[in-house]
Protein backbone atom coordinates (compact mmCIF):
# COMPACT_ATOMS: atom_id res chain seq x y z
CA UNK A 1 0.00 0.00 0.00
CA UNK A 2 1.16 3.52 -0.67
CA UNK A 3 1.07 6.26 1.90
CA UNK A 4 2.04 9.92 1.99
CA UNK A 5 2.82 11.67 5.24
CA UNK A 6 3.00 15.40 5.72
CA UNK A 7 3.94 15.77 9.36
CA UNK A 8 3.18 19.48 9.65
CA UNK A 9 -0.41 20.64 9.55
CA UNK A 10 0.65 24.27 9.70
CA UNK A 11 3.85 26.10 8.86
CA UNK A 12 4.15 29.77 9.66
CA UNK A 13 7.08 31.89 8.46
CA UNK A 14 7.94 35.51 7.76
CA UNK A 15 8.41 36.92 4.30
CA UNK A 16 11.94 36.31 3.04
CA UNK A 17 12.54 33.31 5.28
CA UNK A 18 13.37 29.90 3.84
CA UNK A 19 10.57 27.38 3.67
CA UNK A 20 10.63 23.59 3.73
CA UNK A 21 7.41 21.61 3.61
CA UNK A 22 8.06 18.03 4.52
CA UNK A 23 6.73 15.00 2.70
CA UNK A 24 7.58 11.38 3.38
CA UNK A 25 6.19 8.45 1.51
CA UNK A 26 5.82 4.74 1.83
CA UNK A 27 5.77 2.64 -1.31
CA UNK A 28 7.59 -0.53 -2.19
CA UNK A 29 8.00 0.23 -5.88
CA UNK A 30 9.21 3.21 -7.87
CA UNK A 31 6.99 6.20 -7.16
CA UNK A 32 6.12 9.36 -8.98
CA UNK A 33 5.85 12.29 -6.61
CA UNK A 34 3.96 15.54 -7.01
CA UNK A 35 3.23 18.70 -5.13
CA UNK A 36 -0.19 20.31 -5.51
CA UNK A 37 -1.15 23.73 -4.19
CA UNK A 38 -4.50 25.22 -3.29
CA UNK A 39 -4.64 28.98 -2.88
CA UNK A 40 -7.51 30.49 -0.93
CA UNK A 41 -10.83 29.94 -2.73
CA UNK A 42 -9.12 28.40 -5.74
CA UNK A 43 -8.87 24.88 -7.11
CA UNK A 44 -6.14 22.38 -6.43
CA UNK A 45 -3.44 22.78 -9.04
CA UNK A 46 -0.29 20.94 -9.88
CA UNK A 47 2.80 22.79 -8.65
CA UNK A 48 5.55 20.42 -9.70
CA UNK A 49 6.45 16.79 -10.29
CA UNK A 50 9.71 15.13 -9.46
CA UNK A 51 10.41 13.71 -12.90
CA UNK A 52 10.37 17.19 -14.42
CA UNK A 53 13.08 18.40 -12.04
CA UNK A 54 11.78 21.91 -12.51
CA UNK A 55 11.46 24.99 -10.36
CA UNK A 56 8.03 26.57 -10.25
CA UNK A 57 7.45 29.92 -8.53
CA UNK A 58 10.84 29.46 -6.87
CA UNK A 59 9.89 26.10 -5.37
CA UNK A 60 11.95 22.97 -5.85
CA UNK A 61 11.61 19.44 -4.58
CA UNK A 62 14.09 16.58 -4.77
CA UNK A 63 13.16 12.96 -4.49
CA UNK A 64 15.35 11.26 -1.89
CA UNK A 65 14.77 7.55 -2.24
CA UNK A 66 17.05 6.71 0.66
CA UNK A 67 15.01 8.80 3.05
CA UNK A 68 11.75 8.27 1.11
CA UNK A 69 11.18 11.99 1.12
CA UNK A 70 10.10 14.67 -1.33
CA UNK A 71 10.36 17.89 0.62
CA UNK A 72 9.27 21.15 -1.00
CA UNK A 73 11.66 24.05 -0.57
CA UNK A 74 11.86 27.72 -1.34
CA UNK A 75 14.77 29.91 -0.24
CA UNK A 76 12.78 33.12 0.24
CA UNK A 77 9.07 32.88 1.01
CA UNK A 78 6.64 35.45 -0.35
CA UNK A 79 3.23 36.42 1.04
CA UNK A 80 1.56 35.09 -2.09
CA UNK A 81 2.95 31.64 -1.29
CA UNK A 82 0.41 31.35 1.52
CA UNK A 83 -1.70 28.33 0.59
CA UNK A 84 -2.43 24.72 1.31
CA UNK A 85 0.21 22.36 -0.09
CA UNK A 86 -0.42 18.69 -0.79
CA UNK A 87 2.17 16.07 -1.53
CA UNK A 88 0.93 13.20 -3.70
CA UNK A 89 2.28 9.88 -4.89
CA UNK A 90 1.46 7.74 -7.89
CA UNK A 91 2.66 4.21 -8.41
CA UNK A 92 4.61 4.24 -11.66
CA UNK A 93 3.51 1.64 -14.16
CA UNK A 94 0.24 1.11 -12.39
CA UNK A 95 -3.10 2.88 -12.40
CA UNK A 96 -2.72 6.60 -12.33
CA UNK A 97 -4.38 7.33 -8.99
CA UNK A 98 -2.52 9.80 -6.80
CA UNK A 99 -2.59 9.27 -3.08
CA UNK A 100 -2.56 12.59 -1.23
CA UNK A 101 -1.04 13.60 2.05
CA UNK A 102 -3.23 15.50 4.50
CA UNK A 103 -1.74 18.82 3.45
CA UNK A 104 0.29 21.55 5.07
CA UNK A 105 -1.05 25.05 5.44
CA UNK A 106 1.71 27.57 4.75
CA UNK A 107 1.23 31.06 6.12
CA UNK A 108 3.74 33.72 5.14
CA UNK A 109 3.57 36.81 7.31
CA UNK A 110 4.62 40.25 6.02
Amino acid sequence: AQRVTQPEKLLSVFKGAPVELKCNYSYSGSPELFWYVQYSRQRLQLLLRHISRESIKGFTADLNKGETSFHLKKPFAQEEDSAMYYCALTASGGSYIPTFGRGTSLIVHP
Binding site: L44, L46, G103
Partner: protein
Protein backbone atom coordinates in the same frame (compact mmCIF):
# COMPACT_ATOMS: atom_id res chain seq x y z
CA UNK B 1 -5.73 27.18 -20.77
CA UNK B 2 -8.51 24.53 -20.69
CA UNK B 3 -10.04 23.82 -17.30
CA UNK B 4 -12.12 21.18 -15.62
CA UNK B 5 -15.47 22.71 -14.78
CA UNK B 6 -17.84 21.60 -12.05
CA UNK B 7 -21.43 22.51 -11.32
CA UNK B 8 -22.97 23.48 -9.05
CA UNK B 9 -20.40 25.17 -6.82
CA UNK B 10 -22.65 24.61 -3.80
CA UNK B 11 -25.38 22.05 -3.24
CA UNK B 12 -27.57 21.81 -0.17
CA UNK B 13 -29.75 18.76 0.22
CA UNK B 14 -31.80 16.91 2.77
CA UNK B 15 -30.60 13.60 4.16
CA UNK B 16 -31.91 10.73 2.06
CA UNK B 17 -32.19 12.76 -1.12
CA UNK B 18 -30.35 12.01 -4.33
CA UNK B 19 -27.78 14.43 -5.67
CA UNK B 20 -25.92 14.59 -8.95
CA UNK B 21 -22.66 16.45 -9.18
CA UNK B 22 -21.57 17.43 -12.65
CA UNK B 23 -18.17 17.79 -14.22
CA UNK B 24 -16.82 18.58 -17.65
CA UNK B 25 -13.27 17.21 -17.91
CA UNK B 26 -10.68 18.66 -20.25
CA UNK B 27 -11.61 17.46 -23.69
CA UNK B 28 -8.54 15.44 -24.71
CA UNK B 29 -8.06 13.77 -21.32
CA UNK B 30 -8.88 10.10 -21.01
CA UNK B 31 -8.85 9.43 -17.26
CA UNK B 32 -11.39 11.01 -14.95
CA UNK B 33 -11.61 11.01 -11.20
CA UNK B 34 -13.71 12.01 -8.26
CA UNK B 35 -12.10 12.98 -4.98
CA UNK B 36 -13.67 14.37 -1.86
CA UNK B 37 -12.40 16.44 1.04
CA UNK B 38 -14.23 16.54 4.32
CA UNK B 39 -13.61 19.80 6.15
CA UNK B 40 -10.24 19.73 7.87
CA UNK B 41 -9.26 16.38 6.40
CA UNK B 42 -7.18 15.27 3.47
CA UNK B 43 -8.21 14.82 -0.12
CA UNK B 44 -9.59 11.27 -0.54
CA UNK B 45 -9.86 9.24 -3.70
CA UNK B 46 -13.33 7.99 -4.60
CA UNK B 47 -13.25 6.58 -8.12
CA UNK B 48 -11.42 6.64 -11.42
CA UNK B 49 -13.02 6.19 -14.82
CA UNK B 50 -11.47 5.21 -18.11
CA UNK B 51 -12.87 4.03 -21.41
CA UNK B 52 -16.44 4.42 -20.19
CA UNK B 53 -16.07 2.26 -17.13
CA UNK B 54 -14.84 2.42 -13.57
CA UNK B 55 -11.17 1.46 -13.44
CA UNK B 56 -10.73 1.70 -9.68
CA UNK B 57 -12.73 2.71 -6.65
CA UNK B 58 -12.04 3.16 -2.98
CA UNK B 59 -13.88 1.66 -0.02
CA UNK B 60 -15.68 4.98 0.33
CA UNK B 61 -17.32 4.46 -3.05
CA UNK B 62 -20.08 2.11 -1.93
CA UNK B 63 -23.39 1.22 -3.55
CA UNK B 64 -24.77 4.66 -2.80
CA UNK B 65 -22.35 6.16 -5.31
CA UNK B 66 -22.32 5.86 -9.06
CA UNK B 67 -20.59 7.61 -11.92
CA UNK B 68 -21.61 8.10 -15.47
CA UNK B 69 -20.39 9.68 -18.67
CA UNK B 70 -23.74 10.27 -20.32
CA UNK B 71 -22.32 12.00 -23.38
CA UNK B 72 -18.94 12.93 -24.80
CA UNK B 73 -18.30 15.76 -22.38
CA UNK B 74 -20.03 15.35 -19.01
CA UNK B 75 -18.89 13.15 -16.13
CA UNK B 76 -21.30 12.87 -13.22
CA UNK B 77 -21.22 11.58 -9.66
CA UNK B 78 -24.53 10.47 -8.20
CA UNK B 79 -25.19 9.87 -4.54
CA UNK B 80 -28.41 7.92 -4.29
CA UNK B 81 -29.45 8.57 -0.71
CA UNK B 82 -27.29 11.17 0.97
CA UNK B 83 -26.12 10.86 4.54
CA UNK B 84 -24.89 13.57 6.87
CA UNK B 85 -21.36 12.25 6.55
CA UNK B 86 -21.44 12.81 2.79
CA UNK B 87 -21.06 16.53 3.46
CA UNK B 88 -17.76 17.46 1.85
CA UNK B 89 -16.12 19.24 -1.03
CA UNK B 90 -16.19 17.00 -4.09
CA UNK B 91 -13.50 17.49 -6.70
CA UNK B 92 -13.53 16.19 -10.22
CA UNK B 93 -10.21 15.75 -12.00
CA UNK B 94 -8.89 14.61 -15.34
CA UNK B 95 -5.40 13.83 -16.42
CA UNK B 96 -2.88 13.91 -19.15
CA UNK B 97 0.75 12.96 -18.68
CA UNK B 98 1.49 16.11 -16.70
CA UNK B 99 -0.60 15.31 -13.66
CA UNK B 100 -4.14 15.80 -12.44
CA UNK B 101 -6.14 18.87 -13.36
CA UNK B 102 -8.84 19.61 -10.81
CA UNK B 103 -12.14 21.37 -11.02
CA UNK B 104 -12.98 24.04 -8.48
CA UNK B 105 -15.17 21.64 -6.55
CA UNK B 106 -18.75 21.29 -5.41
CA UNK B 107 -19.43 21.94 -1.74
CA UNK B 108 -22.13 19.45 -0.72
CA UNK B 109 -24.01 20.11 2.50
CA UNK B 110 -26.37 17.40 3.73
CA UNK B 111 -28.85 18.61 6.35
Amino acid sequence: EPEVTQTPSHQVTQMGQEVILRCVPISNHLYFYWYRQILGQKVEFLVSFYNNEISEKSEIFDDQFSVERPDGSNFTLKIRSTKLEDSAMYFCASTDSRGLFFGSGTQLSVL
